[in-house]
Symmetry: C2
Subunit: 396 residues, 2 copies
């Protein structure tokens, strides 16, 4: 295990160390849950006041022409470089679930004959649930969810679209994006990635991918329930249309026409009026990435992971996350029969991780605000707490 | 026309006059656009800081158990008395457009044979667009949009659902809710009301209605793009399920099951994670209504309307809003060949109304914050500005 002195030395050499001061972090807490809800960037406080008191309070409806109406495309363009997309291939709207629904229905309808969505059993539940909901909106639509090792066999000439989550929400296992995109496209299907657990945490390059969605409130630090984003490759944009044909996605929202005409480019994926207070917080979170090299983020994520993995080894925990940095995201998951008690005891000691049913203890490693010293200390506390739990179990 | 002295006397007698101090209103502006974007309640500033700095910044994920997770139902229960619904018949989620989609698809699917949505041509565009999108998700689904005077004839034994906007966004014309609900149900169809332009502005009693949606950012003063609400009558709640089967609407969101099981009651209409910054602002706006008698609101709306209607008469404007208070909402619309120029000139003079294509000048009358003196002055400025426009046209 890393020693406190070694951790301090790593902090002294950390190219990202100045970023920590850009966040408000509660005293006495080691926050290993940035993969569930990213912490508050300091800039968001001032930006939030400006949004509420000046933009809304003083400018009122005039603000729609002073940056609000363009915000979905503007923030999308800022997210694009983090996922290897062009600025005009990403837009911010609604939630991950709603955006997935739009893309899956559109993709199912587009193919002349294929009507199956292939996805992974044990994928994040909303991906599975929304896939079912989308399939039910297209005649003949069906979902085929199989274990990861059976995916390759499940893709066939009925497959319209394959939906995979880049980094798994429980295990942090990461798909090889380029290889799977090529595999799916070779079978004549579209590839849709859910980037919720990877955007802002690991280097993402959508490359040839067709469609994607992603989350604003995890590693992008956009605030609780932040709006989500969606991506449609430029070559598909004119062909696909949203089943959620709302007025803000109309070619002329203020033309007030009775008939729907989809907007140009990514604008057609908007539905209702954007929730500007939430949009502002997301933009402030995304702006933090403007001068960050994602290679530095990925390298620090790997170092932090190794520190907690070593602590897990010392504690005798079963690590279900792959050790190879290229095969995982930016959290670490341990399986433990008393995972919930482990997380509860750690929270009581100021280490916030989370429990995922039935037996997973999950710790997020956000390179933007965590110090090596914090993660070193968290590792020590994990070792101590696991030992305590074993004694308690032994005493029973 | 009302004189300044008469307006001051009306203000002195106004049971709602103290409410004005609960809003931040910019100096030198008479804001007649609360029907488009309600102004900032003062309480929202402190609540917004608490949401960002304490609930998010300090409490982080712990806030989900400290009020966030329950907020959609909690805020819905606060909106319920404003629309004549039971507390467990309303929930807050997504946008008006997304909520309409959910209800229309669910209602179309539920009927064994009927597949037609009847609605009004010239309804607010998103109602028409989303109805088209919803109909396309159900085999045989279609939309039949007809002029108001043809609605009665259009409802027949193929009609599954009738979607009407209670108060028209342009003309402010109001449907007789009880009569139309009875008419539609007598034909064996479900009645769905869009309450966007009526909630918080006029007395609404959904009574026997089946379904409804409504907007948070107009007369509820919930902030730009505030989350919307939806209503399902208790007797239908177990029968209807959402096509947007997201994880937050699951019976056990944190059970992480692969198969979707709809949540109990209104919970099933949730989709993704609620945007808490926007939810907080909506709740602060709705809380303003806690000690308000909607009969006072409606009575003041009628007085303010009469003042602007008299000014319009003096100016020779064509009023397209019905004069009878029971047949209109809380804005007034005038038709004018140079409506856009009229609005632009009034804005330059500090009177903010809005233009709706092609020839409508629209002025919102929000009884919570407008004084009679302000509306009296706005009336004078409308008379002057219309006269100026006539001179300009004459000079051409």
């Amino acid at each position: 295990m890393t020693t406190p002195a070694e951790a301090r030395a790593l902090d002294a050499d950390d190219p990202l160390r100045a970023l920590r001061d850009r966040f408000m972090l509660p005293e006495g807490i080691i926050y290993l849950d940035g993969n569930s809800l990213g912490p508050l960037p300091r800039a968001t406080m001032a930006a939030g006041r400006d949004m509420i008191e000046r933009q809304w309070g003083e400018r009122l409806i005039r603000s729609w022409d002073e940056g609000w109406m363009d915000s979905p495309a503007r923030i999308g363009a800022k997210i694009a470089p983090l996922i290897g997309a062009a600025p005009d291939e990403v837009i911010v709207a609604d939630s991950v679930s709603v955006n997935l629904f739009k893309l899956l229905v559109a993709a199912l309808r587009h193919h002349p004959t294929r009507r199956t969505i292939v996805t992974e059993a044990g994928n994040f539940p909303t991906d599975l649930h929304i896939a079912e909901g989308a399939a039910a909106c297209v005649p003949g639509g069906r979902v085929h969810a199989v274990a990861r090792e059976a995916l390759d066999d499940a893709i066939d000439d009925r497959t319209a679209i394959v939906l995979l989550t880049h980094v798994h929400y429980k295990t942090a296992e990461r798909f090889d994006m380029a290889a799977w995109t090529a595999r799916v496209q070779a079978a004549g299907a579209l590839m849709c990635w859910d980037l919720s657990h990877s955007t802002g945490a690991v280097q993402v390059d959508l490359g040839a991918a067709d469609l994607a969605v992603g989350c604003g409130y995890k590693f992008l630090n956009g605030g609780p329930g932040a709006p989500a984003f969606l991506f449609v490759a430029g070559r598909h944009q004119a062909k696909l249309t949203s089943p959620l044909s709302g007025w803000m996605g109309h070619a002329a929202p203020f033309g007030f026409e009775d008939a729907y005409r989809p907007g140009a480019g990514m604008e057609r994926w908007r539905v209702g009026t954007p929730a500007m207070l939430a949009m502002q917080a997301l933009e402030s979170g995304v702006d933090l990435f403007a001068d960050i090299d994602m290679a530095d983020v990925a390298a620090k994520s790997a170092r932090l992971f190794d520190m907690l993995a070593a602590a897990g080894d010392r504690a005798g925990l079963e690590c279900v996350t792959p050790r190879d940095p290229a095969r995982r995201g930016s959290h670490i998951a341990f399986r433990h029969p008393h995972a919930r008690a482990l997380i509860d005891r750690l929270i009581a000691r100021g280490v916030i991780g989370d429990f995922r049913t039935p037996d997973i203890a999950r710790f997020g490693l956000t390179p933007l605000f965590l110090s090596h010293a914090e993660v070193q200390r968290a590792g020590e506390l994990i070792v101590e707490t696991v030992a305590e739990l074993a004694e308690t179990a032994h005493a029973r």
